[in-house]
Amino acid sequence: MILPTPMLLQVADPTVAASTGVFLIATVVKMLAIFTLYMVGVAYTTLAERKISAWIQDRHGPNRVGPWGLLQVAADGVKNIMKEETFPGDVYKPLFLIAPALAFVPAMITWAVIPFAAPWGSPWGRIDMVVADLPIGFLFTLAISSLGVYGITLAGWSSNNKYALLGGLRASAQMISYEIAMGMSTVAVLLLSGNVHMSQIIDQQVATNWNVILLSVAFLLFLVSSFAETNRVPFDLPEAESELIAGYHSEYSAMKFSMFPIAEYANIITASGLMITLFFGGWDIPFTSWDNVGPHTGLKSAITFAFFLLKVVAFVFFFIWIRWTLPRFRYDQLMALGWKIMLPIALLYIVVIASAILALDATGLSRGTVAYQGALFAVNLVLLVLIVFVLDRGRLISPAYSRLERERVARLRLMAQQSDLATSRES
């Protein structure tokens, strides 16, 4: 049986750009597809959170609506829309109304510049598998993610409630602090790729190796700051229940309240997408070069897209896993970690990695060689060991085993022993 379509696809030259009409149609289709997939993904991440938390805590989780509880998402949506909306008397209404949307929109816009599959050399010209192929791609994501703070801050302020305001203030302080560390940690990526264009950052990783290996410390810093940026445990201070009731969304109800969790999960998915693009080779399939060379068939785009989705799911799982594993920081620990540890390490790392790249380039080694990548990895390994074993020996961020605490535990233990001795003597 003859299949003419794949033949056509192979003949098409992937370097020929699509005409304006095809470009417009393709862009609209990509926008609709990505938006739909993203919203469904956000909805099912809420279910995943509940299922995985149940699994971690040895429970069943939601399992009544539909098979394995898969329709729980729809039930939740209907519930949130049908609920009564309350407006406390003294809220500042215009901002109270738009704050939930402001929290959600920046996370969604960032997806416009993340490449999600290998370009497709269609019969009508090359179609890049990214919604908007901006030349300033990475700077765009930084600029947009710096706006995420508005939603939470304004929600806190416009509620006219002291706990909400405190939550909002915490959120803005936290997000500004970690944004700096986040931006600084990605400088190393830009140094290595020499460009801010997302597709070229991926191309660089395809040509050499994933940045998670070449720039492990930068990945660690980026990972920690993206947890802080998404307000996830262990950095969910803006909504610490034991201190602030529910933080910035104390006064919200029904669907407007629901927008904040939706924004949180949207942020998780976006942060996963960014980490994959910057450090895990985007849509690149590891251990094979099949996906990186022509012919750029539709099948190839589909398979790389599947791999991209797989990586996103893995990262989302990681985010959820951390939430149900670690306790929350104290506020001073959070600030100290951001300003006194992450920022200096990030600054130092820029200097180290810039020198390393300069030195390695001076030796004349090609970037594709194992020696070049090995040397860079060795530098990172040494730095990681230094960070983990020298900097943090119960001195800086460990909450339960700080030095003072240890002395107190020893004293308490001594008292317990003495009282034991006393009781044994009596009996």
Partner: protein, 188 residues
């Protein structure tokens, strides 16, 4: 993409659209009583300016506009406004919109209108041409659109760049030193 007949129209439409939104937001920014609402309208102005930069093919400047002004400076601004608790219009006392204040504002407005008029009518005596070697809108091969800005900044004007950064650092340290209360809990 090939350029086509609709491109000038497209640019013109978006130029006027974003200019109108920017001017309307600026007017709302100065007339709002609530400081937080005013700050949000200013953010909107920043966004429209960024959109105008994109229309000029200056995407880097646009990204910086959003990142620095809308994302950092305005957030800090909002932070201060919220901490000062200038929150609600009813709590605000007398403003400067009386007597001499109005007169001064009217005079300044007249001066600005006159300036605009002069600028509009003045003949341009010199030709605005870009340097032949490299232009910002032409991405060079290695650095993309950023390379065109980073190249001159870190090669030809490196000294000026470094001096500026030292100046900014001195300003930051100065602000911290001046801001520290003597005798308070934070004082050394």
């Amino acid at each position: 993409m090939q350029p086509n007949a609709f491109e000038p129209l497209f640019y013109q439409f978006h130029f006027y659209l974003f200019s109108l939104i920017a001017i309307a937001s600026a007017v709302l920014f100065v007339t709002r009583k609530s400081p937080v609402a005013a700050a949000m309208w200013l953010v909107n102005v920043m966004f429209c300016l960024a959109a105008l930069y994109v229309l000029l093919d200056a995407q880097f400047v646009a990204a910086m506009q959003v990142l620095v002004y809308a994302g950092a400076i305005m957030v800090v601004f909002l932070f201060v406004v919220m901490l000062l608790n200038l929150g609600h219009p009813s709590e605000l006392g007398a403003d400067i919109r009386q007597g001499w204040g109005r007169l001064l504002a009217g005079f300044l407005a007249l001066v600005m209108v006159a300036e605009l008029f002069v600028l509009w009518r003045a003949p341009i005596r010199w030709q605005l041409t870009l340097p032949a070697a490299e232009t910002a809108s032409q991405p060079n091969a290695t650095g993309g659109v950023i390379g065109a800005i980073a190249g001159p900044m870190f090669k030809e004007y490196l000294l000026a760049f470094e001096l500026t950064s030292v100046l900014l650092l001195a300003a930051i340290i100065g602000a911290v030193v001046l801001g520290r209360k003597s005798g308070g809990a934070d004082a050394r």
